[in-house]
């Protein structure tokens, strides 16, 4: 079956597998920066995501992502390395000491991991499909590193100017390599969404990170950190559209040569 939309199951496209799940109750201390270290017991650096809330009912929830540092509000995010998951809290005003925050952390395995994992579903004897819900059909997963700005290969090499792929048409696609950007072409009626993480070689940690900077004309174009994923509705070919995954170059203020952009694209 081509085009993985408007159906319940299609074995051309896998479903997300959550390989780590943790509920955590954080008691805020009086510091502005607080870090809780949890050993995850996995044999790889997990790609963490999740939510946090003021209440254990999660009636209101916030994404577990680091916001821009100039935001003086309260935030919680997760970082990971090969051994631990780090729950990080930032409280500029020191206004939440003694308060509890409730956290749910989920994680995927990175594309480069091919080993086994312990089950995370306690009801694993049962196949649970609920047709009231749709499921996250993965159309592409990527693990791409930045390109050196001073290298312009005369012929295609692993260090390319860009990587190009059609996705969502001929089955699940895995994308690896080294390039400043990855151009993914998709087709009507798909409206794909994405998640991304960055492995920061400077800190040896991986965190969910989609940097979105919107600028008015007066402010001009800011230099982005990476990763980012932009949509270009029309490519010039009717029904074809483009997603550009920015992975960066070694230009100052962009990416380190050893950084990794992990991304997952959903139908």
């Amino acid at each position: 079956m081509q085009i993985p939309t408007n159906f319940i199951a299609n074995s051309d496209y896998p479903y997300d597998q959550i390989v780590y799940f943790k509920e955590y109750e954080l008691t805020c201390d009086s510091s502005s920066n607080q870090t809780i270290t949890i050993a995850h017991g996995l044999n790889f650096t997990p790609l963490c995501f999740g939510i946090w809330s003021d209440t254990d009912t999660f009636t209101a929830s916030h994404p577990l992502v680091k916001t821009f540092s100039s935001d003086t509000d309260f935030m919680i995010w997760a970082e990971s390395d090969e051994t631990n998951i780090y729950i990080c809290k930032y409280d500029y005003r020191h206004a939440h000491s003694g308060q509890k925050r409730y956290i749910k952390i989920y994680a995927f395995a990175p594309l480069s991991f091919t080993g086994d994992c312990e089950p995370t579903a306690t009801t694993s004897d049962f196949l649970i499909f609920n047709t009231d819900l749709g499921y996250s059909q993965l159309i592409a997963v990527g693990e791409v590193q930045p390109r050196r700005l001073d290298v312009r290969p005369a012929e295609p090499t692993p260090e390319q100017l860009g990587i190009y792929a059609e996705v969502g048409k001929n089955g699940y696609t895995e994308i690896t390599g080294r390039a400043a950007s990855v151009n993914l072409y998709y087709f009507d009626p798909m409206t794909p969404t994405a998640m991304a993480w960055k492995y920061d070689a400077a800190t040896n940690r991986t965190t969910m990170d989609l940097q979105v900077v919107l600028a008015t004309k007066a402010a001009g174009f800011p230099i982005m950190g990476y990763p980012n994923i932009s949509y270009n509705a029309n490519t010039g070919i009717q029904g074809e559209h483009n997603m550009a995954v920015g992975t960066g170059t070694t230009r100052t203020g962009q990416a380190n040569y050893n950084d990794i952009t992990h991304f997952r694209i959903y139908a």
């Binding site: 199951a9 896998p14 479903y15 997300d16 597998q17 959550i18 390989v19 799940f21 995501f49 939510i51 809330s53 999660f58 009636t59 209101a60 929830s61 916030h62 994404p63 992502v65 680091k66 916001t67 100039s70 935001d71 003086t72 509000d73 935030m75 989920y106 395995a109 991991f113 091919t114 080993g115 994992c117 089950p119 995370t120 579903a121 306690t122 009801t123 694993s124 196949l127 649970i128 609920n130 819900l133 499921y135 996250s136 969404t193 994405a194 991304a196 989609l210 900077v213 919107l214 600028a215 008015t216 004309k217 007066a218 402010a219 800011p222 994923i229 932009s230 949509y231 997603m243 959903y266």
Partner: protein
């Protein structure tokens, strides 16, 4: 079977389910950035029909820029603007509530937070396409 890659479906692992998709238009109002403070914050909340405790995967469209911007977004983003030749930044975070989606914003004058000049920031309007995700099997 507990292998991760190249599978069809394996009930050993939790997966993620869509609880719905909705497109909303959000406007951050114009705010006065008082002299000697240089910042303002607040929340804009829009009614949507979502179950509580969902994780949100977002896409953001912004047409107020030099070119239309359309990005995947994991819940936080920044808007740059200029007022009276002063750089104004809007740092924003998306959250969900029962039956509502909210955007928390923090607006500040990048040039100085101790300026004696009060600045009125511009309103900013953008569209969020939200996928509400939940964990169906535990």
């Amino acid at each position: 079977m507990a292998r991760v890659n190249r599978f069809v479906f394996n009930s050993d692992f939790m997966t993620v389910a869509y609880a719905g998709r909705q497109e909303v238009t959000v406007t951050i109002p114009a705010k006065e950035l008082p002299a000697n403070v240089g910042s303002a914050s607040g929340d804009v909340e829009v009614a949507v029909d979502i179950p509580p405790g969902c994780y949100t995967r977002a896409r953001i469209k912004f047409t107020g820029g030099y070119v239309p911007a359309d990005y995947a977004c994991d819940g936080n983003f920044i808007i740059f603007d200029k007022v009276n030749n002063r750089q104004i930044d809007y740092t924003c975070r998306v959250y969900t509530k029962d039956k509502k989606v909210g955007v928390h914003y923090f607006i500040y004058d990048e040039a100085s937070i101790s300026s004696p000049q009060t600045v009125l920031s511009n309103a900013q309007t953008f569209t969020l396409i939200l996928d509400f995700l939940k964990q169906p099997n535990t």
